[in-house]
């Protein structure tokens, strides 16, 4: 017979909130790339406005965690789960900020003609979202092996970032008039690269929740 059912129910609700928050941020990232591709300024503004909802959600989850710590004396894996969530929501929120950052770059670019068709940047975004989604699955399933695997995939994002950077550099070297536009696209790529690093941090926290050990994972080159 399970005891402390009320407490464990509240803990599960918090995890559901984390998933919902992750979902909001995944959407923000993919919509930011859409806005970039489509030069859709209204969409970019909407992403910026929606980031406030992400921030609010983070505070709400944090508040619930504080309540549980103050009132429920969580122990062992329950305590690690709450501490893990507190760290993970900060990372998710920052990924949301990176998406917002991309949306702001979209506004700066305005209706300038595109420099080139976007290929690797959308790939980076898709990879970041895939990693984020799976890292939160690993959180729910308490799957340390999956978390380690996802963290190791950060290299792929770094490689794409290198590729994007080299390509944009070649545009700039050939024609200095492209420098402004190319630089803005490197900012976009940099935001995505940072998001992938944040996912790595989430994976570290999942491993801690499962094993109780702090493990540094896949130190990014950037």
């Amino acid at each position: 017979m399970e005891i402390r059912t009320a407490f464990h129910k509240r803990l599960r609700e918090i995890q559901d909130d984390v998933l919902a928050m992750g979902n909001m941020v995944e959407k923000a990232t993919s919509r930011a790339i859409e806005a970039l591709k489509e030069r859709d300024l209204a969409k970019a503004r909407q992403i910026i406005a929606d980031d406030l909802k992400v921030n609010k959600m983070r505070f709400d989850i944090e508040e619930k965690c504080v309540q549980l710590i103050a009132t429920q004396q969580p122990m062992a894996s329950d305590l690690r789960a709450i501490l893990g969530v507190l760290n993970i929501i900060t990372e998710i929120e920052r990924i949301g900020d990176h998406a917002e950052g991309i949306a702001k770059i979209v506004l700066m670019i305005g209706d300038e003609p595109p420099l080139k068709p976007l290929i690797d940047i959308p790939r980076m975004a898709a990879k970041v979202n895939d990693m984020l989604h799976r890292s939160l699955d690993a959180l729910i399933n308490r799957d340390a092996a999956a978390a380690r695997k996802i963290a190791s995939e950060d290299d792929e994002v770094d490689q794409l970032y290198d590729q994007v950077f080299r390509e944009l550099l070649s545009f700039m070297a050939e024609d200095p008039k492209t420098i402004t536009r190319a630089t803005r696209l490197t900012w976009v790529a940099h935001n995505l690269e940072r998001s992938a690093d944040r996912v790595t941090n989430i994976c570290e926290r999942v491993v801690y929740m499962v094993t109780g050990k702090m493990e540094e994972m896949d130190v990014s080159r950037y």
Binding site: M1, I3, R4, Q67, A70, T71, Q72, Q73
Partner: protein, 256 residues
């Protein structure tokens, strides 16, 4: 607050002879919630709880001033029958105190006395199920209650209270004689019971109050040792952001 309140205390004062045990206590206990009364030893927690169903009447020299409103009417009015009150406001004590009778007879005791003896079997089963004890005892209802473990005995005492269909359950340190697992099981049961009943619990175990209650009242003694109500608020407020420095000091272990 008032119309949602199950019990409301107004300017309550309690004396045991010349000793004043409680001073000017006023607060309202919401329906279908768990309200915890916390505070250092001797601050009057149990005395206050016992005012809610006139248990202090049984102590020679005890004198109550002020009002305890139950569903809006004062239970200390002269025409009120205290034993009637005690059925509607049941009580569970620190030590499990089953009668030296069978499990069945313990639960059936109240309904029999009250003449609610029709469908006694159903009443007993319902009360035992409600107290999360049925599955453990259904095959030995005629066995002695004293053969049960401490935690089971306490749940039996809760079933005994439930069998007379009270509206409020007062619990005076209900887990202090139980091991941690039995304690958590009672707490789980309390959460479940709060859907239908109003529960008031006195506990010296602050963590228990934090875990289980919705509202918390913090009592402490003044210099003449009379208990006063320092702070009354939602449990989350009391345990994360108390307004009164004395509450903060108590819950962070700086005194008491």
């Amino acid at each position: 607050m008032t119309n949602l309140a199950s019990l409301e205390v107004k300017n309550l004062e309690l004396w045991y002879g010349k000793f004043q045990a409680l001073r000017n206590i006023s607060f309202a206990i919401p329906r279908n919630q768990i309200t915890a009364i916390i505070g250092p030893s001797g601050c009057g927690k149990s005395s206050l709880l016992r005012c809610f169903n006139r248990m202090n009447d049984l102590i020679p020299g005890a004198k109550v001033k002020g009002e305890v409103l139950f569903d809006g009417s004062n239970i200390y009015l002269a025409n009120i029958d205290p034993s009637e009150i005690r059925y509607r406001i049941g009580m569970v004590f620190q030590k499990p105190n089953p009668f030296p009778k069978s499990i069945f007879d313990n639960v059936a005791f109240g309904p029999r006395v009250n003449g609610l003896g029709i469908n006694l079997e159903d009443t007993v089963e319902r009360a035992l199920r409600r107290a999360a004890l049925w599955d453990e005892v259904k095959d030995r209802l005629r066995k002695g209650a004293l053969e049960l473990s401490g935690g089971q005995q306490q749940r039996l005492c809760i079933a005994r209270v439930l069998a007379v269909e009270p509206e409020v359950i007062l619990m005076d340190e209900p887990c202090s004689a139980l091991d941690p697992v039995a304690t958590l099981r009672i707490e789980d049961l309390m959460r479940d019971l709060a859907k239908e009943y109003t529960i008031v619990i006195v506990t010296h175990n602050m963590q228990q109050a934090a875990r289980v209650s919705d509202m918390a009242a913090f009592l402490m003694m003044e210099e003449d040792r009379a208990g006063i109500l320092v702070e009354y608020s939602s449990t989350s407020e009391i345990f994360t952001n108390p307004r009164d420095k004395r509450t903060e000091d108590y819950i962070t272990g700086r005194f008491g």
